[in-house]
Every structure is written in structure tokens, then in C-alpha cells.
Subunit: 121 residues, 2 copies
């Protein structure tokens, strides 16, 4: 196992319950019980989710007195952003290049170009 960091982060955030926990933790730290309170599932299930988030580095649990706190670890956002923005930038750049090529072709060759497109799903 020990999947790479990004895989773990994305996988951790692929669950709605876990995303909700993260959203709530962004507002403020919480204990396991506070975290579990809104959900229907058992406390143990929440704890398991927590361990997934912790394993992905999305969350940390500084040791402390009885009601241990859970804290959001915001660096993972940077990791995701880096990957996402890289892909996005490359794609956009490519589209720009493609447009350039197309318009260049349009200028030089005045032949017809019936290009019908209807994307969108």
C-alpha cells in the first residue's frame, strides 16, 4: 500500500462524509465526538474516516488532554492545487496553440471549413 501522497489525498476527499468533515474543520477544530455528532453512522465509523484523513495528511491530531482535538492541515491543498493547475495550464495553453493554428489555417487557406461541433453532455 502506502499509495503516493496525491492518491491518498484525492481518495480521502472522494467521500462526501469526509469532505463534510474537512469543511467543518476548516471553520474550527473539533473533537471526534463533536465531529461525529451530525452523522447517522456510529462513532467508530467516523473514527475510521478520521484515520483515512489523518493517513492522507489532511488532518492532524496533536496529542493532548482527554478530548483530543482534530485540526485541519492546509498544506495538502497546495499539493492538489499544484497538480490541478499544472494540468489545467497545459490544457489551456494547448487550446490556445490550437486556436492559433486554426486561425492561421483560416487565413492562408480560404477554403471552406464546415466544422460543426456540439459538445456539452
Amino acid at each position: 500500500m502506502v499509495a503516493d501522497a496525491l492518491s491518498q489525498i484525492f481518495a480521502a476527499l472522494a467521500d462526501p462524509t469526509r469532505r463534510d468533515m474537512v469543511a467543518r474543520l476548516a471553520v474550527g477544530d473539533a473533537t471526534v465526538n463533536q465531529l461525529a455528532e451530525p452523522y447517522e453512522m456510529s462513532l467508530q465509523a467516523v473514527y475510521k474516516h478520521l484515520r483515512v484523513l489523518e493517513g492522507a495528511g489532511v488532518v492532524s491530531r496533536p496529542p493532548g488532554p482527554q478530548p483530543r482535538s482534530v485540526r485541519l492541515e492546509t498544506e495538502v491543498f497546495d499539493l492538489m492545487d499544484t497538480w490541478i493547475e499544472r494540468a489545467r495550464r497545459q490544457a489551456e495553453e494547448r487550446y490556445r496553440r490550437l486556436d492559433a493554428v486554426l486561425s492561421a489555417m483560416n487565413e492562408t487557406t480560404t477554403t471552406e471549413t464546415d466544422e460543426q461541433n456540439g459538445s456539452v453532455a
Copy 2:
């Protein structure tokens, strides 16, 4: 199942092979065979990955002549960004607020006071 869009997107990107496909598709469209070429796995396995990406809306396959092309669908990046940045912003704002409170406490009350807790409703 029809899990919500974000869950599907995150889950799709949680696999290294799939992320690699996306990275390569950001550079340019490809056919399934071209996509599959670098990997050890069977063509069918690649196809399955493709369907996951397609199901998440990360990728589209406009109908066309025999070697069908696979195209990256960049809108999903916006969806992820929106979620990520919202969480990040809230967390940062909260830390800023916390810092303000702490420094304020440091200034006004130079004596007693160990009121340190960060709980949440």
C-alpha cells in the same frame, strides 16, 4: 449509484494511472490505443479507467471515425478548485482571526489567563 460530481471527480483522480492519463491528455487528445501504450496493463483495463474518467466528466469521447479520440474536459478543474479554495479560505481566515485574538489577549491581559481552547459549536 450516481455519487455526487465532486466525489466522482476526486475518486477518478485518486488513481495514479488515471492521473497520468489526464496529464497526458492535457498535452493533447489521444486514442485509447495511444493512451494504453505506455502501460503494462491490458487494453481492457485502460478502457475501464477511461470509463471512470468519463463517468466523472473528466474526459469526453466525441463520436467519430474508427479511432475515437479522448478529450480532456477542463471544467472539472473549476469544480475542484471551487471546493478546495473555499475550504482553504475559511481555514486561513479562521487562523487569522485566531491570531488576532491571541495577540489581543497578549496585549490586554498580561497576567493570568490560560484560556486556550479551540472548540466549535
